[in-house]
């Protein structure tokens, strides 16, 4: 088998097993279709169908309560407006910064935690249990909790401002606000990344680790030379998922909405927050539709780049 395979599993005794090579072929065409139908229907009703109305809105001017008269076709006007807006480009760069920072932070911390748990340090069983929890909390709840904890005047963190005024003030400084939303997102996603990384690490044959330890390599060396390369497929999968989620995911919206509301003065106005607030607060359905299409295009480009250039360095076997 050449090329990437996502059906790769590790077996502690047998080593990597590629399920792709054990394929079963359906004899009739309707049975597999029947199996796929529920999923296809879901995708149709909750993605393609709404997407068509986004398409029509993006090229027209859609009044909030729907067209009373005929819908006004405006061609590329909505896109032109979007691209001409300097605030939009600021939002794009904020989103990119947010996505890369949040992904890097959450994957790095999750990896460190996973390595520690994998080394069976004292209490690792307990920690393995707790680290997973944050992912189970809904993003708006996380946002709300973080808002209270990190409120510069009345939160738990307010004590740092008594050492030096405005040491921490996300309501005032855009940079602090950005840190707040990044930390909040990373905190939630560490749990998710941790599960995958722990599972991945556990499937690395113990004998390899032991052998390199006997050769005198320390934990850091082993992580770089053994665990990261062997974990590459998992890490790549998490990278794509984290970047996409932080770039367009509902968690990003929920967190920004409950902590900073895009402020101060639009310093955390990431694309997904901007789209939702323009569409539903501003009732600018057409402008928001155009922005969504641009966002979809960006995500496709994003994922393409990742598969084209990053995945080359991932070895599945």
């Amino acid at each position: 088998m050449s090329g990437p395979s996502y059906f790769l599993v590790y077996d502690r005794n047998a080593g990597p097993v590629d399920l792709m090579n054990k394929r079963a072929v359906f004899k009739s065409w309707w049975l597999p279709m029947a199996f796929a139908l529920p999923q296809l229907l879901l995708i149709f009703f909750f993605f393609y169908w709404p997407a068509t109305s986004v398409l029509t809105w993006a090229f027209s001017l859609e009044p909030a309560f729907g067209g009373v008269g005929e819908r006004l076709f405006v061609g590329w006007d909505n896109f032109r407006d979007v691209f001409a807006d300097t605030e939009y480009w600021r939002s794009v760069s904020l989103s990119l910064f947010f996505a890369f920072s949040a992904t890097a932070l959450s994957m790095f911390i999750a990896f460190v935690l996973a390595i520690c748990v994998d080394r069976q340090l004292k209490g690792s069983g307990l920690f393995r249990f707790f680290y997973i929890w944050p992912y189970a909390i809904a993003a708006p709840a996380v946002g709300l909790a973080f808002r209270f904890i990190f409120a510069p005047e009345s939160g738990l963190i307010a004590v740092v401002n008594t050492w030096s005024p405005d040491l921490w003030n996300p309501a005032k400084f855009g940079s602090h606000a950005m840190i707040l939303v990044i930390v909040c997102f990373a905190w939630k996603w560490i749990g998710y990344n941790f599960i995958f990384m722990t599972a991945g690490l556990q499937s690395i044959p113990r004998s390899l680790i032991e052998a390199s330890a006997m050769d005198g390599s320390g934990p850091v060396r082993r992580a770089f030379d053994l665990q990261i390369p062997l974990l590459a497929p998992t890490l790549f999968f998490l990278l794509v998922l984290n970047l996409t989620e932080s770039f367009v995911g509902p968690d990003t919206y929920g967190i920004v909405d409950l902590t900073t509301e895009g402020g101060p003065n639009k310093s955390t106005d990431v694309m997904v927050y901007r789209i939702v607030s323009e569409a539903f607060r501003g009732l600018n359905y057409s402008g928001a539709a155009a922005q969504s299409l641009v966002l979809i295009a960006l995500i496709m480009l994003f994922t393409f780049i990742q598969f084209r250039y990053v995945e080359r360095r991932v070895h599945y076997k």
């Binding site: 009044p63 309560f65 009373v68 605030e87 402020g263 101060p264």
Partner: protein
């Protein structure tokens, strides 16, 4: 096990269907009302619904909170598009124009005439009715929960700092702030970036326009002008006071909004809605002396009437004809003087009709200590007859424009923007919203 569970579900479904058909409920005609108030005020709306349901046997109103004004509009739009909308919906002041141009409603006057109710439309206070009426004066929606911005101050702190009278002018406020600061109060006046009091009400009572074309009443081709009015000086004053530590920003993001800042006695003066009068009375430490007065004006200006805030009730079209009878009965019910009085008492919202206000004044409502000062809201709203700058604000995408202005205020008070640059930024972005709105509703007449 599974089969038993399914059987149970079926049985439960059958029972619920059976219940739905019991004669007592089937006779009443049901219709829906969606509203945006939540918490304490939301429960008072439920009380109003219950009073209506108990008062007659023909209709049953089902009231559902959508937890927030913008959410109510969004949900109503989604429901309207899916043809599952409620008959009556509460829409906040900022969403008025979106509804007016939607073509999705039955005008208040027509609804009441069609259903045989005689309403004295002149009974509504002009300042209230004009906000929800066409420029010709025809009321489209029913004023329901109306408020205006007021100035709250802590009398105990004033006494301690040696201030005797309630501030009437911003010069008085500055003097009071200095005395309070000298007396050791760290936050003499708290304010947030909410535009309603500091920008909109300020402009109205100082007879300053927000936008051209009479604040948008005369056409969708209106443009914001807030970067050229007295507002520039006013915000410059706020900025100066803030830099001196006399005025302090209090926002939800910082940890405390203005009303909690006042009730916790952190800040001694705030501008806020009269609708908070009840909440403040309930939450401030018992025994604390505080009072409320009209928003201050700058010395040498002639005070004008302030703008109405809050929300009104819209009746959406394309519902079964029978529901409109119920909707009309409900709207008639809540406009009765005794209901107006009850609603105003339990919430702090002002009575929207002159007869309701007179009835409350006559039975000594405003003399009771707990409600003292609430009549000043009416005084503020009716200070002068409404004029071009004080009739209301009729701008498309207004909630988004408000956000642009408060973003600019964040830039001014927290960032490096000057007042002029900040307001220029808000005007530029706000005008873009207005132009897009104008294009979207091109050819639709603004009545």
């Amino acid at each position: 096990m599974k089969i038993r569970a399914i059987k149970f579900c079926l049985a439960a479904a059958a029972v619920s269907v059976g219940l739905g058909m019991t004669p007592a409920l089937a006779e009443k005609l049901k219709f829906e009302f969606w509203y945006g108030l939540s918490g304490d005020l939301g429960e008072r709306v439920q009380d109003a619904c219950k009073k209506f349901n108990d008062s007659q046997a023909d209709y049953e109103i089902a009231c559902t909170s959508q937890n927030g004004y913008p959410e109510t509009v969004q949900n109503a739009i989604a429901a309207y598009r899916a043809k599952k909308h409620p008959a009556v919906v509460q829409v906040f002041d900022g969403g008025t124009l979106d509804l007016m141009l939607s073509g999705a409603f039955v005008p208040a006057k027509k609804l009441m005439e069609d259903n045989g109710y005689k309403i004295d439309w002149t009974n509504y206070f002009g300042g209230i009715a004009n906000y929800y009426a066409t420029s010709k004066g025809e009321l489209y929606s029913f004023p329901f929960n109306s408020s205006t911005a007021m100035f709250y101050y802590n009398v105990d702190a004033f006494t301690k700092a040696g201030i005797e009278a309630a501030p009437q002018t911003w010069e008085d406020v500055e003097a009071a702030a200095r005395k309070l600061k000298a007396a050791g109060y760290s936050c003499p006046l708290g304010f947030s970036f909410d535009t309603w009091a500091t920008v909109e009400q300020f402009s109205a009572i100082h007879n300053q326009p927000i936008a051209t074309k009479n604040n948008g009443y005369d056409g969708l081709d209106t443009e914001l002008v807030i970067n050229k009015t007295k507002l520039v000086d006013h915000l410059t004053f706020f900025k100066k006071m803030t830099d001196e530590g006399l005025f302090v920003v209090k926002t939800k993001q910082l940890g405390m909004d203005v009303v909690p800042a006042f009730t916790s006695e952190t800040c001694q003066m705030i501008q806020s809605s009269v609708a908070d009068h009840g909440t403040i009375g309930k939450t401030i430490k018992p025994g604390t002396k505080w009072d409320v007065t009209m928003l201050p004006i700058w010395k040498g200006t002639e005070r004008q009437n302030s703008l109405v805030g809050g929300a009104s009730l819209w009746v959406l079209n394309n519902r079964p004809e029978a529901e409109y009878k119920g909707a009309a009965a409900f709207l008639n019910f809540i406009a009765q003087p005794d209901m107006v009085e009850w609603w105003s008492t339990v919430t702090g919202y002002i009575p929207v009709t002159k007869s309701g206000f007179d009835a409350m004044k006559a039975n000594g409502f405003y003399d009771k200590p707990a409600y003292k000062g609430r009549d000043k809201a009416i005084e503020s709203l009716t200070f002068t007859p409404t004029s071009a700058n004080t009739r209301g604000i009729r701008l498309g995408g207004f909630p988004q424009i408000r956000k642009e202005i408060s973003d600019a205020m964040e830039g001014i008070f927290f960032g490096k923007l000057t007042v002029q640059a900040g307001l220029d930024q808000a005007v530029e972005r706000g005008n873009a919203i207005l132009r897009r709105f104008e294009k979207t509703y091109a050819g639709r007449a603004l009545n």
